[in-house]
């Protein structure tokens, strides 16, 4: 089969797609054609968008398992939808090796203090569980403040908050080498407020477990 007739066949296949639910892009593999497929995000199932392009044209992938084939000097083929089975056959091994999506935990603090709010202490246990589930955990602890007080002292307060959390994580058994700390001071509020505003939701530490 020539590349041209394959292209025609794929074109027909995508017309069929418009009329029915899905079609399988069958093997054999076509030499010189790359395959790009939009996949739902693992865990959430959210489907984003992607665009495959080359000098000859471009194709938008906008739904789950939407696929296009691309060869060097030809426009990407019209979109066809792969079956779940096709996706597993093509990408099963790569998908099985994709590291799990990162998880983020938000801990809140008392006003102008590096003391954790009581309700947030319980979240530390969840954080530890998330860390233990991962083969090679990286933990990033970022401190934030509200806008009360000068930015420079808020940078220091946010850093103290992050260090407090790091100390708690290490006391609970985490490896210090895998826990990094940084401060964003008052520069990245969760809730936008005017300056000099006390806002409990902005007095926080975000722990990202990767």
């Amino acid at each position: 089969m020539t590349v041209r007739s394959l292209g025609t066949a794929l074109g027909l296949a995508s017309i069929v797609v418009a009329g029915c639910a899905r079609v399988s892009i069958q093997e054999p593999r076509q030499p010189g054609q790359d395959l790009a497929v939009l996949l739902p995000d693992s865990g959430t199932g959210v489907v984003g968008r992607a665009r495959a392009s080359n000098g000859a044209g471009s194709v938008d992938l906008t739904e789950a398992r939407a696929a296009t084939r691309v060869s060097r000097d030809r426009s990407p083929t019209p979109v066809a939808i792969l079956s779940e089975a096709d996706v597993q056959r093509e990408f099963g091994e790569a998908l099985a090796s994709l590291p799990p999506a990162p998880e983020t935990f938000l801990l809140y603090f008392q006003f102008e203090s590096d003391e954790l709010a009581p309700a947030s202490r319980a979240l530390l246990a969840d954080t530890l569980e998330a860390v233990k589930r991962r083969p090679v955990p990286d933990v990033l602890v970022v401190g934030h403040t509200d806008t009360m007080g000068p930015p420079a002292s808020n940078f220091q307060l946010a850093l103290r908050r992050a260090q407090t959390v790091r100390t708690l994580l290490l006391a609970a058994g985490l490896d210090g080498n895998s826990v990094a700390v940084s401060s964003h001071g008052e520069s990245q509020p969760l809730v936008i407020t005017p300056d000099e505003t006390s806002e409990p939701r902005n007095r926080r530490v975000a722990i990202t477990v990767r």
């Binding site: 996706v87 790569a94 099985a96 590291p99 990162p102 090679v136």
Partner: protein, 153 residues
């Protein structure tokens, strides 16, 4: 013989300066780590291949490579994730993640085999800053997961 000496000295000095510059520059920063490995999997850095082990640090311009029984999964600093199936190769050609300075860029070249890309903060903050390249196509993303299979040449 004598007339060659200045040239020799110049060449030696040139070589010293060339080696001295990278040594004096800051050590390259880690851009991520290997998270999942099975079978034969390698990191190729400056032409030298070493076994990819869980926890191994990745640098900009590293290539990832797997053998016939190999699989590999990595996470980058901005939460971008990339994995390879067997007999695959991808290069982390460009990586900039400094949101406070507005420096965001990710270019991955997929050379061979099968790969999955899952977007991170760079795609979220600046979708146009992410480019996934195969020999035949450039794939741009809007916060998503993409599977790529690169045809055998």
């Amino acid at each position: 013989m004598k007339s060659h000496q200045p040239t020799t000295i110049a060449v030696v000095l040139g070589a010293v300066m060339l080696t001295a510059v990278p040594a004096a520059a800051q050590a390259p920063a880690a851009i991520g780590r290997v998270k999942i490995v099975s079978g034969a999997a390698f990191i190729v850095r400056s032409g030298t291949s070493s076994a990819a082990t869980p926890g191994a640090v990745l640098l900009e311009t590293d290539s990832l490579r797997t053998g016939p029984d190999g699989r590999l999964g990595v996470s980058l600093n901005d939460d971008t994730r990339v994995s390879l199936g067997p007999d695959s190769e991808a290069r982390l050609s460009r990586y900039r993640y400094a949101p406070s300075e507005g420096a965001l860029s990710l270019v991955v070249n997929f050379m061979r085999g099968v790969a999955v890309y899952a977007s991170g903060q760079i795609a979220k903050l600046s979708p146009d800053a992410v480019r996934l390249e195969t020999p035949a196509a450039i794939v741009g993303v809007r916060g998503t997961t993409v599977g790529l299979r690169v045809a055998a040449e």
